[in-house]
């Protein structure tokens, strides 16, 4: 049979598996079967936190079969992301996607749980959601689910688009054993922070709040549509919020210019780079918008 669209698609999938597979590694850091990881920079491996059951003697097996020692450069249990530093640099680095996953898109789930070669399964992106609280006490802004089979040892491996770029990091550690994919932009950002600080800093504001509807008149004053905000019902003494000048009765509507509609979004906004920095917080006070700068503390 001559080449046709089916053969072309089949070849493209095998090419994508090969391309991303070269940057997918085996991570051996537990007693049971090894798991997977992604070469995220020339000497850094992005993987799942829950597969790291020991800190010493971590071995990584590359796409070409060579074994390299690694140590933990940073880890965050809440998002189940960890970064390993390799003993030496490697050549093949994974390429993160430039266009985020779309519902219905076909995608490969790749892993390297055995030294014998790459393993793959095919599915479609069946849900994109978030934010959700993870089973490990963190918050994930966005997640991807697929209908593909996740073989044992696939945690830490990539979800791959048909062009071989990485859509996200697969893990069974966030949702009671069910496979979930952390979108690449989020995973990469967490990994960048982990490389810099070794851990994810969780911000502390020191307020108690509840979600309230923003009256139409106040929405007008905000100059953008926002249905809800967070009514401050308590401010801790000596907290970053009280030092910054937040008071009971303020309706918090944005952090660093990003609208905050619910608690989960505040939680997400307070993670990472804002910790220790003076951050503009937009509130409605007496129905009028006001910006207050608060130096975000650390929990």
């Amino acid at each position: 049979m001559s080449n046709n669209v089916l053969v072309e698609l089949s070849d493209a999938l095998a090419d994508a598996a090969e391309k991303a597979g070269n940057a997918t590694v085996l991570v051996n850091a537990r007693r049971r079967m090894p798991a997977s990881g992604i070469v995220y920079a020339s000497d850094l491996i992005l993987t799942a936190d829950h597969i790291l059951e020991r800190e010493e003697g971590i071995k990584v097996i590359l796409g070409d079969g060579t074994e390299v020692s690694a140590r933990i450069a940073g880890r965050d249990a809440g998002s189940d992301v960890a970064v390993l530093k390799l003993e030496r640099a490697v050549e093949t680095v994974a390429e993160a996607t430039k266009s985020p996953a779309r519902l219905g898109q076909i995608a490969l789930v790749l892993g390297r749980p055995s030294p014998n070669g790459i393993e793959a399964s095919l599915g479609t992106v069946s849900a994109i959601g978030g934010p959700i609280r993870t089973g490990r006490g963190g918050m994930l802004e966005k997640y991807i689910r697929t209908d593909s089979i996740s073989y044992p040892g696939f945690s830490g491996g990539p979800l791959v688009a048909a062009d071989g770029t990485v859509l996200g990091v697969n893990t069974s550690g966030l949702a009671n054993g069910a496979a979930v994919t952390i979108p690449a932009d989020i995973a990469w950002r967490i990994a960048d922070t982990l490389v810099k600080h070794g851990r994810i800093q969780h911000g502390y504001l020191g307020i108690r709040s509840q979600t309230v509807e923003i009256p139409a008149a106040s929405q007008k004053a905000l100059k953008h549509e926002q249905a809800t905000g967070l009514l401050v019902v308590g401010v801790e003494n000596d907290s970053p919020a009280s030092k910054g000048g937040l008071i009971v009765g303020d309706i918090l509507v944005a952090v660093a210019g990003v609208p905050v509609l619910h608690h989960d979004e505040l939680f997400t906004r307070l993670s990472g780079d804002v910790v220790g920095k003076s951050t503009p917080i937009d509130v409605l006070r007496g129905g009028q918008p006001q910006t207050i700068n608060v130096v975000i503390g650390e929990r």
């Binding site: 046709n4 053969v7 090969e18």
Partner: protein, 209 residues
């Protein structure tokens, strides 16, 4: 790329091409497996575990039923070669190269007795399975759904070439097919043994010299 209807069309063509080579092999009183027409003159390849103890009945796509002769069987590779008295059959061609992880595959068979079923997947891994003697056997693992009744049927690539013989029994809950290279070796060995036996029996002039 313009998929304007052609995608469904090529899948339909693939199915039309492969289906005539799919047979039913009934080797036990209950249940049946699948088999592959391996050459135009009646060679049928299937799993050893499908054959059972007797010469099984082979049912072609035209509903023709044939009592087969068992030419060879090997429990270590879970393959058996049958022969039926039929000609002008449509055989499948094995792929000349080993499959790639990620490429599309289609399994043909009769899962749970549902006749002529096609399931789709990709090659998940090229691995070695251990047979009961502890020897390693190259197999193709895929994410194609397989069930009892798929055994002995073909796993084909996007070109309709055989990349494996479905044999879930080896893989437990994973979909496993015996690599086409193993099948080719098995058939070649079986045929050369058969030919040499026939030469001995016939005592043709060449053999006397």
């Amino acid at each position: 790329m313009n998929f304007n209807g052609t995608f469904t069309q090529v899948i339909d063509e693939l199915v039309q091409r492969v289906m005539p080579s799919l047979v039913i092999v009934r080797g036990h009183r209950f249940g049946a497996g699948a088999g592959i027409v391996w050459d135009a003159n009646g060679l049928i390849l299937t799993n050893n575990h499908v054959v059972g103890r007797h010469n099984p009945i082979v049912i072609l796509q035209n509903d023709g039923e044939y009592e087969s002769r068992l030419l060879a069987r090997d429990p270590d590779v879970d393959l058996a070669l049958l022969s039926i008295d039929a000609t002008d059959l449509t055989p499948l061609r094995p792929a000349s190269v080993s499959p790639r992880v990620g490429e599309m595959v289609f399994a043909f068979g009769h899962p749970w007795g549902q006749r002529n079923t096609v399931t789709r997947g990709i090659v998940s891994a090229l691995v070695s399975a251990q047979n009961r003697r502890g020897d390693t056997l190259p197999v193709v693992r895929s994410d194609t759904p397989l069930a009892p009744g798929n055994s002995g049927g073909p796993l084909v690539n996007a070109k309709g070439e055989v990349v494996g013989i479905n044999a879930m029994i080896i893989g437990g809950d994973q979909s496993v097919s015996i690599a086409a290279s193993v099948a080719m070796d098995f058939v070649n060995k079986a045929l050369s043994k058969k030919n040499s036996e026939e030469r001995t029996n016939q005592r043709t002039p060449q053999d006397v010299i």
